[in-house]
């Protein structure tokens, strides 16, 4: 945890999170996140080796329901909310670099 947050690492995180940040923004978030992660050093003081992690506050089980037909949402109610649609499908820019 002692490793400090570099601007390169923040740029890597931004690319993982798919957020386009310019140099000034990277600098801002490097400082901002550094403050929060600095505070997180507090956890170093705890001996947690024998403690089980907890991902959820309530004992979760798989929930299976009966397969009963019921009302569903109209496809048009969903598609008409999208930024770009063609023939009832979502349209996006090229995925692999070829022009459409």
């Amino acid at each position: 945890m002692e490793e400090s947050l570099s601007q390169d690492l923040v740029a890597h995180i931004a690319s993982l999170a798919r957020i386009d940040l310019d140099e000034a923004e990277l600098l801002h978030f490097t400082e901002h996140l550094g403050k929060i992660l600095g505070h997180a050093q507090q956890l170093e003081a705890l001996d947690l080796d024998a403690v089980e992690p907890m991902s959820h506050p309530y004992p979760l089980n798989n929930v299976l329901r009966d397969d009963v037909p019921g009302p569903t949402i109209e496809p048009s109610d969903v598609m008409n909310q999208a930024p770009d649609v063609s023939e009832n499908q979502f349209r996006v820019p090229p995925v692999l670099g070829e022009s459409s």
């Binding site: 999170a17 957020i19 386009d20 956890l43 909310q81 995925v95």
Partner: protein
């Protein structure tokens, strides 16, 4: 104005018209909403139609339900069919959900009248409602101060008399803290008691929907309406909703109350003074009050600000400019995603997504996210030990009364607003804030009552007693 309980009772018995009641509230909105900015949208016409339907039902001898004619304001992260739901974010601006959240469905079938959608910190990330893409909400008690957050619009709406009750969501204190700062009752139920179907996800293992109200009885009425199992939420607890209203007059004789000592650190003096007065009132009422240590809560803030952003980074991956909301152009799909997310999200949301992405990333997972999850276990163990000897626990809700705009620009300073509320979210226990007198500048102070999972009855019982003992409001 009437309480929601009285209003519903009057409407059901034809003593009051739902339409006239709604118009009374709309007049208050017209007079003060420009100053307060509690709402992102007011659904005036549909609300009037609904109220007319309620009155017609009563006239024809049918019962509209336990919330007959009660105007309700909804936090704008609750899906409402064909009514814009924005999360106070540009990225969802203009989106109209194709379905109602379960809580919205239940309110409607209980006869409630939806008046509008209330402002919040973008995607419920914040403690002041300053991080809304549509401008801040102001505290009705002092317009130069924040209402708290993230459900600041709902808290302010009830405090300003725009609606007798409202719904919010609470991930780290987002119902209780604004309730405290606005002088209203706010409840975070047991995780799983209220369906999250149709609540736009922030941190799924913490998020819970709950009510705001002017008094404990109204909060009980609303929670009874929205709570209980929902097959559409796989984390919904499969048991029927308990009765809360019947517990309110039971008093606190013999109740074992623990004041959490760690949650008195770093609290302003005026707030601490009210807490001790509330404790003294409980003692006077026959409760056995002492101090109790829950050591792990000192690490709660840190654990929360790793886990919640981690869950958020995953939940908010869906905003990619493809299926709903806005899109910024890019030459390929990855560039389009990244441009959309930069332009659509505000800085606080970006910061949390980045923090969460980091905490989950290869090489850092064990040191941050993994450790924080272990703190969660410690917190559960420490609360269990405290509840072995206590029925309820008591603390301040917020370390201070409402603060001024711009006062907490440093992230850790803002995050500390949530110190007292976060522990209950970490472990999924219920907790609520009850107004108890005023502090500095004559501003409201709230006391937090916490209880073990599914022990809402004793929590409401204690809260109702505290409310009945509260000092006369200092109007200065």
């Amino acid at each position: 104005m009437n309480s929601a309980t009285d209003l519903a009772s009057n409407v059901r018995d034809s003593r009051q018209s739902a339409q006239e009641a709604l118009q009374d509230y709309l007049r208050v909105i017209d007079a003060r909403e420009n100053d307060v900015h509690a709402f992102n949208a007011i659904d005036r016409e549909v609300a009037m139609e609904t109220a007319a339907t309620i009155d017609e039902m009563v006239a024809s001898g049918r019962d509209p339900g336990p919330l007959a004619g009660v105007p309700v304001a909804l936090k704008d992260n609750l899906c409402t069919r064909a009514l814009a739901t924005t999360c106070s974010s540009k990225i969802l601006e203009g989106w109209e959900p194709p379905y109602d959240a379960t809580v919205v469905e239940r309110l409607r079938s209980a006869g409630a009248v939806i008046v509008g959608k209330t402002n919040l910190d973008e995607f419920a990330m914040g403690s002041s409602t300053e991080h809304s893409a549509f401008g801040p909400t102001r505290n009705p008690h002092d317009l130069t101060r924040v209402p708290g957050g993230s459900s600041g619009g709902s808290a302010a709406a009830v405090a300003a008399g725009f609606a007798p009750v409202a719904l919010g969501s609470d991930t780290g204190g987002s119902i209780r803290q604004p309730a405290s700062l606005c002088g209203v009752v706010g409840v975070k139920p047991t995780y799983g008691l209220v369906s999250r179907y149709g609540l736009i996800a922030f941190a799924s293992s913490f998020d819970q929907i709950g009510p705001f109200a002017n008094d404990v009885r109204d909060a009980a009425l609303v929670l009874e309406t929205i709570g209980g199992h929902d097959p559409r939420d796989s984390t919904s607890i499969p048991s029927p909703m308990m009765n809360l209203s019947e517990t309110l007059d039971r008093g606190v004789e013999g109740m074992r109350v623990g004041i959490v000592s760690e949650l008195l650190e770093g609290i302003d003096e005026d707030v601490t003074a009210r807490l001790h007065e509330a404790a003294a009132a409980l003692s006077e009422g026959g409760a056995i009050v002492d101090s109790v240590s829950v050591p792990a809560v000192e690490y709660g803030l840190t654990a929360y600000y790793l886990i919640a952003p981690a869950e958020a980074s995953s939940n908010l991956a869906r905003y990619d400019g493809v299926r709903y909301g806005m899109r910024s152009e890019g030459q390929d799909v990855a560039a389009m995603n990244a441009a959309t997310r930069r332009n659509g999200f505000g800085d606080e949301v970006i910061a949390r997504i980045m923090l969460g992405t980091f905490a989950l990333s290869a090489g850092y997972y064990d040191a941050y996210y993994g450790k924080a999850q272990k703190v969660r276990t410690l917190t559960r163990q420490d609360f269990d030990a405290a509840y072995a000897k206590h029925d309820i626990l008591l603390s301040p809700t917020s370390p201070s009364v409402a603060f001024e705009f711009g006062e907490r620009s440093d992230p850790m300073t803002m995050y500390r607003c949530d110190t007292c509320t976060i522990p209950s979210n970490l472990v999924g226990d219920p907790a609520m804030s009850v107004p108890f007198g005023t502090g500095d500048h004559g501003l409201p102070v709230g006391v937090q009552v916490m209880a073990p999972q599914l022990e809402e009855q004793r929590m409401f019982q204690a809260a109702a007693f505290i409310e009945s003992q509260q000092p006369a409001r200092n109007e200065s």
